[in-house]
Symmetry: C2
């Protein structure tokens, strides 16, 4: 393995430290237990949003900390859940008196540790609500998950709930909104090759030259099937078909947000080629791509692949999506 | 080669089409000759900025089209200069009566075709000025270049000149500013592995498992030397030393902008690990990193590597850097 690392066991610490170092206006790092908050936290009277998960998915989650999105993120080791201690400490640090929303991807370790943190916080009188994200239609149970895995929809939940919190919505309303976004989202990913695991220096799995993993998880978990490689348009249509088939027939109308997510090594050209086909295919299915996000936002180290997420919009969700956000990975103004 | 393409010869067309399709509010595509303008072009009374170059360096340049940065970008085929026709047509489309600044990376084909376009425009009474970017300290002449190659500083020239144009500066002033940014910038890149060329399906060059190309060009041109692989901190210091040695001794003081640029497959963690070391090493040399940009902005397909650019700031440059920008790849508000 040749990578831009110093020591495999220092990758996460050094990367988070580097990110905090170049964004002192935006981020504040607490090293032990490790979490990153927005520099102006706690914000009095506003619901705080805390997420986290294993590292190796950057820019998620630390790249989404800032005004209009997360209040804090807790990075675990690579592909390893953060501890309950991290989550508890982060939530305490950002609680502004209006309670804390915990945004959790559906992996057993994450669910357990966020639950434990919520209990510790409750014992101290800090109110929490949890939004569980489980949008991956590929498989029902998986290596680290009972039920569906949480993938791309997490980014959308964090953005939209962050906007509502910034506008002053209360904890129950922000949580309800997060559950709504999660419920209206479906995703599927596919890999042409695996990411390189820092601890071993090896790819997480091996595919033949003419093979893809269809429905891959963001830790390299097996998907629905290994299939022959196809051109980008055919792969895009195949992934979209799986996503759309999971909605009820009467839901397949109106405006959607299309999220084309590179899983690590997909180039901007590859992401755009997939987006081109996806916009057209959705159009042919009667869905208008009213909002989109195209790029690397939730990766699996340097995996070569892409995931597609479709969120059924309504006016409220579109408005909150458009609200200003100022984070490392997502930034826009009014 | 497994990549998310349809046909190798359609990669650029489909990618640019996809990008324009998902950003209809921001971009307008003219297919033949191919160029992309900001959707509101021409902007009356404002200097227009036109750049372009071979594709394979995304998000450069199309990702930098929008308010506060480029008025138009002309994508050539992969690693191939755009034609004079493309540049001429783009400049005509965005000229708002205040003239057109051409921002050119120093490669022989680009220089020739932008010069030819400038002559055609002059014949029709459209005023142009050219800023030539040649910031790569690695080598004096190279495969496609007489003199130094133009690399990372191009992003900085485009951002800062775009802000000045948006504020209403005239053509001579915007051009002078661009030359100032170029003159105060130095860069160096290094590769751990090459990008995969779409037309051949093969890497542009091959390195041994323990080898890097130090001073690599963005088309895989040879650098200063092939060297043994080292940890990220050592590579960062080695690249920074080459960059800083190229400034005069009395210039090594004050505020700088640090640009850590992933060349394609470097993960956000790898870019952040390099940035962490660079901020510290610059600090030890008496330079304060007052602004930074860390991520993939000027790539070489899926090359694994990174380039470092240092721009000596002054108050004027810092203020223009902070001005709002709204493009696919760089966005921030007031």
């Amino acid at each position: 393995m040749k990578r831009l690392y110093n020591r495999p066991d220092a990758v996460v610490d050094e990367a988070v430290e580097g990110l905090a170092l170049v964004h002192p206006d935006l981020l504040r790092l607490s090293p032990d237990p490790m979490y990153v908050t927005r520099a102006d936290a706690p914000v009095r009277g506003r619901v705080a949003l805390v997420s986290g998960g294993g590292s190796g998915h950057e820019p998620m989650h630390v790249g989404f900390v800032g005004p209009g999105m997360l209040s804090a993120a807790c990075p675990g080791a690579v592909f390893t859940s953060p501890t309950a201690d991290q989550v508890e400490a982060a939530a305490r640090a950002v609680d502004g008196g209006a309670g804390v929303l915990l945004i959790v991807k559906n992996y057993s370790g994450d669910v357990m540790n966020f639950e434990m943190a919520a209990e510790l916080l409750a014992a101290d009188g800090i109110a929490t609500e949890t939004v569980l994200v489980a949008d991956d239609v590929a498989v029902e149970d998986s290596t680290y998950t009972s039920g569906r895995r949480g993938v791309g929809a997490t980014v959308l939940v964090e953005k939209i709930c962050g906007a509502a919190a910034e506008r002053g919505a209360d904890l129950a309303a922000v949580a309800e909104l997060g559950r709504k976004v999660a419920a209206r989202s479906r995703s599927l990913g596919l890999a042409l090759s695996a990411g390189t695991v820092p601890a071993t220096g090896r790819p997480g799995f091996v595919l033949a030259d003419d093979e893809i993993e269809f429905g891959v998880g963001i830790h390299g978990e097996p998907g629905r099937e290994r299939r022959p490689m196809e051109p980008a348009d055919a792969l895009t249509d195949r992934a979209l078909a799986a996503v759309l088939d999971d909605f009820a027939a009467d839901e397949l109308t109106g405006d959607v947000l299309l999220f084309v997510n590179g899983l690590g090594s997909a180039t901007p050209m590859e992401c755009a080629i997939v987006a081109r086909r996806a916009v057209r295919t959705l159009g042919e299915r009667g869905l208008r791509v009213a909002r989109s996000l195209v790029g690397q936002y939730m990766t699996s180290l340097d995996m070569l692949g892409v995931s597609l997420t479709v969120l059924r919009l309504d006016d409220d969700l579109a408005r909150l999506w458009d609200d200003p956000v100022e984070t490392v990975a997502l930034r826009w103004g009014r």
